[in-house]
């Protein structure tokens, strides 16, 4: 066999690339089709949210959190207001807590649908699963519009509860959604989850071992797909999750397929939680009165929630003023990317997008 001279080529995937989920750049070195080196480059969407938060009052920051992971703004709201409540020692009326859990779970469904849809789009399905996912997500966003007048940047929660009682027509709409979504998800599963091409593309691809996942602080569905039964809704229940009856899907292989399937199964569990919220929704106020410009005592507080992408934490330091002294966002997408380079090396270019897509990161949250 003749030894032909060959050299590795470097390509820039992104910042403008059809499947980098935002503006993300990967400098990939290829040996033919095989990836030999990856350097992720972030920051194209950096808006300085943490710095902006230092200049805003505690209530105003709620609007900033919408824009972190714009596919799950409700959960971002929830994480932030939990941190403020912990800092200021505010209690939330039960109806407010239930409404938060209900909306957060609806948002989780929407976010997972989007994650799954784009993952399948990265696999090369020409838009069909994505379209089906968006069709369902759209109905959830309609509910959010009904609830708070906005579909994506909701700003629904406030320190001390949620901003307002939902309109009366919200309840039948939730009922209808909870009745019809399981069928739609089942249809999506029939379409894709046993498709031989999907299996061949994802089974065993991009394996993230349990030890590596824990060591790199990977969180959320990615951690659970690696076989770690760790869900903050169970491990450190906030709001009323302790009263909710739901199971946690846990994978065994830690490959792209498990990550995909964990998300799909979490959607079913989210519907289950939302169903319980709908059933047990208590009466009473939705918000405990808190002045707009309130001054928490000096100190710090860290609150974390199980966001759709993983553990979303807010670390707030107060100096007794009306704005936080420091507001740190522990963004799950950013920390999940720690493992990306190692997961990619040795795979093919085609697998790159599958693995990256299966991690389901959101650049708005990575770059903050």
């Amino acid at each position: 066999m003749v030894n032909l001279p060959s050299e590795q080529i470097t390509i820039n995937l992104g910042p403008q690339h059809p499947s980098t989920h935002g503006v993300f750049r990967l400098r990939v070195t290829l040996d033919g089709e095989v990836i030999t080196d990856v350097e992720p480059i972030f920051g194209y969407l950096h808006r300085g949210t943490e710095k902006l938060a230092e200049e805003r009052t505690y209530t105003q920051i709620v609007t900033l959190t919408d824009r972190l992971d714009y596919t799950s703004s409700m959960i971002n709201n929830q994480a932030y207001v939990l941190a403020v409540e912990k800092l200021a020692g505010v209690t939330v009326p039960p109806r407010g807590q239930y409404l938060r859990v209900l909306t957060a779970e609806l948002q989780r469904i929407a976010s997972h649908l989007m994650g799954v849809g784009f993952f399948l789009q990265d696999l090369g399905a020409s838009g069909t699963p994505l379209m089906y996912c968006f069709r369902e997500r759209e109905r959830i966003l309609d509910l959010f519009e009904m609830l708070c007048g906005a579909r994506v940047t909701v700003s629904y929660m406030r320190p001390g509860g949620v901003f307002q009682e939902p309109p009366p027509e919200f309840w039948p709409a939730v009922r209808h959604l909870l009745d019809t979504t399981p069928d739609a998800i089942a249809e999506l599963e029939r379409l894709i989850s046993e498709n031989e091409i999907v299996l061949a593309r994802t089974k065993g691809v991009g394996v993230l071992t349990k030890e590596k996942a824990i060591d790199s602080a990977v969180s959320g569905p990615n951690l659970r797909a690696s076989g770690v039964a760790w869900d903050l809704r169970k491990a450190d229940p906030y709001d009323v999750y302790a009263d909710m009856d739901f199971a946690v899907p846990v994978g065994s292989n830690g490959d792209s397929y498990d990550r995909f399937l964990v998300r799909v199964m979490e959607v079913h569990q989210s519907i289950r939680i939302a169903e319980q919220c709908y059933r047990d929704m208590p009466g009473g106020p939705v918000r405990s009165e808190l002045p707009f410009f309130f001054r928490p005592p000096p100190g710090d507080a860290y609150a974390h929630v199980e966001a759709s992408k993983g553990e979303l934490g807010f670390y707030l330091v107060s100096d007794g003023g009306i704005a936080p002294y420091r507001c740190k966002i522990r963004s799950p997408s950013f920390i999940n990317l720690t493992v990306l380079a190692e997961m990619l090396i040795g795979w093919k270019v085609a697998d790159l997008m599958v693995i990256f897509g299966s991690l389901d990161v959101n650049m708005g949250e990575v770059d903050r």
Binding site: G43, A217, D236, H304, Y315, K328
Partner: protein, 148 residues
Amino acid sequence: MTRALQSAEVVERLQGVAAEAVSVAAEGEVRVAPESLVTVCRFLKEEPEFAMDYLSSITGVDYLDSFEVVYHLTSLTHNHSLVLKTTLHGRDDISAPSLTEVWEAADLQEREVWDLMGVRFTGHPNLKRVLTWEGFPGHPLRKDHLGG
């Protein structure tokens, strides 16, 4: 519920590792001197009683006369948590030891703290800017950035 460890008990257990360097900062928080940070963290990770296998987050806070780096540790095994705080005095060219050899999770987070807060982590294999670009003037999350 994730149980916050009693800081007094933790400090007592840490006496054998780094006696002088640790003190109680607040409830569930332990203050560690930067020199013995790696030793303490390695102990907390490897001691089965603590098994702090999960480094949740690293935060840098600018207190004008000093910087504080806050580590949120969690144990997935025991479901308990602990906050480590370390104070770095001075403003220019401050550094803390890197924890990348203890937890891989420290990699990107330390880069972020370096980028935005200007805390150098000695021993980090690839301490480059993350969110801003190389050559960005200053560290934007410092309180005195751009004179603000």
